[in-house]
């Protein structure tokens, strides 16, 4: 992916990024700012067209946005003029599905994300964590093949964040969806990612790949306990050092 920069030069936001995801895999992507994480996600979602190369989902090449790829944004991007239920059923309404069935599905999903009884609440009255739950339900009710999450828990406080992490794991386990999760937090990437890409900037590329056991552990064990796991701590330190080095390199280049 090549962007023209303001100065007229070109910026290689992504270069030689090749990977395949199996169905039901949870991939987290980590990297310093400016390494092309969001560009990768936007291309996958179909909001951007790659300069060269292609992405396919289930053998079909991606060409523009579509319902089979659901998206959860950092700030929720909820429609604040609608109620919780209206936000959740937005996709189904656009498809003009049967209202009775839709209402049932909305109930189910609100139950799953823990917002039972909040259907008629205006969205703007919800807290940040609850809004993120609505965003999750809104995405999942469409039954997408692939879920793209762009720092979905980034704006939440530590406590809410932990709860939401378990929720994401629970949903992953129950629905068996393929998920790409972009995050700034090393801990979150380790906890939630079955696979983990650490990306490097200029040009944006996959620097290192990990296969991690913690997400599967998280389905049964307590997240706190996993965080104190020796292997978890050492991997975390390794990745943090890696990212620190990259950041310092960027600073050096700029000065």
């Amino acid at each position: 992916m090549v962007f023209p920069s303001i100065k007229g030069e070109t910026v290689h936001a992504l270069k030689d990024v090749n990977f395949t995801l199996k169905q039901g895999e949870l991939l987290s992507v980590l990297g310093p700012s400016g390494c092309g994480k969001t560009t990768l996600l936007n291309i996958t979602a179909g909001f951007l067209r790659p300069t060269s190369g292609k992405i396919s989902l289930g053998g079909k090449e991606i060409n523009g946005p579509g319902v089979e790829r659901g998206m959860v944004f950092q700030q929720g991007a909820l429609f604040e003029w609608l109620t919780v239920a209206e936000n959740v059923n937005f996709g189904l309404r656009m498809k003009k599905e049967d209202p009775v069935e839709t209402a049932q599905k909305v109930e189910e999903w609100l139950d799953i994300v823990g917002l039972k009884g909040f259907g008629n609440t205006p969205t703007y009255q919800l807290s940040g964590g609850m809004q993120q739950r609505v965003a999750l339900a809104r995405c999942l009710i469409n039954n997408p093949d692939l879920i793209l999450m762009d720092e979905p828990l980034g704006a939440l406080d530590a406590l809410t964040r932990e709860k939401m992490q378990s929720l994401v794991l629970k949903i992953w386990k129950e629905t068996g969806k393929t998920i790409i999760l972009i995050t700034h937090s090393v801990e979150e990437a380790l906890l939630l990612g079955e696979r983990l890409f650490v990306m490097a900037p200029r040009p944006g590329r996959i620097h290192k790949e990990y296969q991690l056991p913690f997400a599967s552990m998280g389905l049964t064990e307590d997240l706190r306990a996993i965080k104190n796991n020796k292997e978890f701590v050492s991997t975390r330190e390794e990745i943090l050092t890696m990212i620190w080095d990259m950041e310092e390199e960027i600073m050096g280049k700029e000065n």
Partner: protein
């Protein structure tokens, strides 16, 4: 009476607010320090006090308080004003209200002029013999002053006349102090007076004019005194200080001036000009009626004495005048009296209210149209007005043609035409009408058209490069022109009736709505658009479900602004031309100086503007409670 009660209530309300505040302060939470916005909350009693103050100031400065508590005071003050007016001429001679005796100031002025002229003549280029002659004439004119002011030359007859006048004034003063003054009139005269009095309107019925005929005992007294003073003062001004020595001097000067004039050639323009001036100076001194310094002292003293007595006789009236007639008083001019001061242009609330009620009545109204009322109108007329006639034209088929036996069979097309033109019988419903309704309808129609056309275009411009560029010039070129600058052109094209004004308002609101809808559309968060895309919404669905509601706050704010601007533009446009509308009413009232009507229109406009704004605020609260919380 009612005004009096209201005045008292208003004062009580203000005092009560202060008392209530003092009680709140005692029980207030101590944690609200200075600067805490909490301190500015709960001031309903101050709203009452504020409104009461405005009303009270209005009642006070329009002299309605005076009218309510002392309804006779204006009539009595009118008689007092007559006395003051009749005294003005005679007082002017003496250092009573003036600084100097009239004779002294005349002498001062003329002597200065004479010495100035002597210098001018000395420095001029005329022959020295002429110079000497002219200066001599000026000296003689100056001598005339000395003759006039010399007590020795004063005619004894003039002296007697002066004493006579002084005596007359003194006698009037003594009579005036009596309770019985002005004496009993004959039965016929009294009857006539009462008859005239009964025909007289009361204060405020004809605008700012005051009923001039004296109604009370005090009034009669002052009225009679004013008449007498007028006669005495006429007599006084007939006395002239024409003593024989002065007359001889004046004749001499006049003939000398004549001789000098005759000796001049036509080309001696400068000399002619000087002699003309000398002649003027001499004439002025002769006509100024200069008296010796102490000659008129007796008259001056009698006037001062009388003035003192008449002031004493005013008694409580002067207190009322000072306290309840702020900023002015009642002034007499000949036989009529009028209010001079805020009472003149600030109508009394009570009168204003009466006129307002009259304007509301369908039987009176303003220029045959009530302010707001209703009319019974057939449904057919309403339908005919709303439905455009071309609806019948687009129906397939032809209009009926008459048959060979001269009959016309109606068909579908002609029936629809009948309906579209309102050509059928139906029951009537009440439809609002009147000046206010006309203005209101113009605003609503102009604004509605502006919204219907402006919002879609604005959204389009916010989303499309083509629309943003293509329509930008036309909107941006006409928008900065003040709407009223368009008015003459548009009124000429569309006529002075509704269509011109509605089009003008359409232009105003259209530009505002385009700009606000455009800002709303281009301000939509990208992540929301992305979310809608990935939820499978089509272009049209995104426009309707995401961009339109997202632009709603901007659009509603735009409407709120547009209402204000439309309202202002409409009133001004109605000023320019038209036959109905609240602006028209004000313009006509201005031409006829109907201050009450002007104030009523101002009040109505303010209230309607406030109503519009409150309505919009309510709508905004109801429809977009989520504004700024996304």
């Amino acid at each position: 009476m009612l005004t009096g009660i209201i005045t008292v209530l208003l004062i009580l309300a203000i005092v009560g607010s202060f008392y209530y505040e003092s009680r709140i302060v005692k029980t207030e939470k101590i944690d609200a320090v200075f600067g805490d916005p909490e301190k500015a909350k709960g001031g309903v009693h101050w709203i009452i006090a504020g409104s009461s103050t405005i009303l009270l100031l209005w009642l006070f400065f329009s002299w309605d308080v005076a009218k309510s508590f002392y309804p006779d005071s204006a009539n009595e003050l009118c008689q007092v004003a007559k006395v003051e007016e009749s005294l003005v001429g005679i007082k002017y001679i003496f250092p009573i209200d003036e600084r100097q005796l009239k004779s002294t100031s005349v002498i001062d002025r003329e002597i200065a002029i004479i010495s100035d002229y002597k210098k001018i003549i000395q420095n001029s280029g005329i022959q020295s013999s002429d110079k000497a002659k002219l200066t001599g004439l000026l000296n003689e004119a100056e001598l005339m002053i000395g003759t006039l002011t010399n007590e020795k030359h004063l005619d004894p007859e003039v002296k007697n006349k002066v004493i006579l006048i002084a005596n007359k004034i003194t006698r009037l003063k003594e009579d005036f102090a009596q309770a019985s003054y002005p004496g009993i009139k004959s039965v016929e005269e009294e009857k006539e007076r009462l008859e005239l009095l009964s025909k007289q309107t009361s204060w405020g019925e004809t605008g700012m004019e005051i009923p001039p005929l004296p109604a009370s005992k005090t009034g009669l007294k002052f009225d009679a005194a004013a008449r007498e003073i007028k006669l005495i003062s006429e007599e006084f001004f007939e006395i002239k200080n024409d003593n024989p020595v002065f007359m001889a001097q004046f004749e001499k000067i006049k003939s000398a001036i004549k001789d000098f004039k005759n000796s001049l050639n036509d080309d001696q323009e400068l000399e002619q000009d000087y002699i003309r001036q000398v002649s003027k100076i001499a004439g002025r001194i002769a006509r100024a009626n200069i008296f010796p310094p102490d000659a008129l002292d007796s008259v001056q003293q009698s006037i001062v004495d009388f003035d003192e007595v008449q002031r004493e006789e005013q008694g409580g009236l002067s207190v009322i005048d000072a306290l309840l007639f702020p900023g002015g008083t009642i002034v007499a001019s000949g036989d009529v009296c009028s209010e001079q001061g805020p009472g003149r242009w600030l109508p009394k609330p009570s009168d204003t209210f009466k006129i307002f009620i009259n304007l509301l009545k369908p039987s009176e109204g303003y220029k045959n149209v009530p302010l707001i009322w209703y009319e019974m109108m057939g449904i057919n007329q309403v339908v005919g007005f709303i439905t455009p006639d071309w609806i019948a034209d687009i129906i397939p088929g032809k209009y009926p043609v008459h048959s060979s036996d001269g009959k016309v069979e109606p068909n579908l097309k002609s029936t629809v035409l009948d309906i579209a033109t309102g050509n059928f019988s139906a029951f009537s419903i009440p439809i609002p009408s009147g000046h206010i309704w006309d203005s209101f309808l113009r605003v609503i129609l102009g604004l509605g058209l502006g919204i219907i056309c402006g919002v879609p275009l604005g959204l389009f411009m916010g989303l499309s490069r083509f629309a943003a560029g293509y329509f930008d010039p036309i909107v941006e070129l006409y928008r900065p022109v003040p709407p009223l600058a368009w008015a003459p052109l548009i009124i000429t094209i569309f006529g002075i009736d509704n269509s011109g004004k509605i089009f003008l308002l359409f232009m105003v609101s259209f530009a505002i709505m385009v700009i606000s809808a455009r800002a709303g559309a281009s301000g939509t968060q990208l992540s929301k658009i992305h979310a809608a895309h990935s939820l499978g919404a089509s272009k049209w669905q995104i426009l309707r479900e995401v961009i339109a509601p997202n632009s709603l706050p901007e659009i509603l704010t735009g409407i709120r602004v547009a209402i204000g601007v439309c309202w202002g533009t409409l009133v001004a446009a109605e000023f320019l031309a038209g036959t109905t509308g609240i602006g028209f009413v004000e313009n006509v009232a201005r031409k006829y100086s109907q201050y009450e009507v002007i104030w009523i229109t101002i009040f109505v406009m303010g209230m309607l503007g406030l109503l519009f704004d409150i309505g919009m605020r309510k709508i905004i609260q109801k429809t977009i409670p989520w504004r700024g919380k996304g």
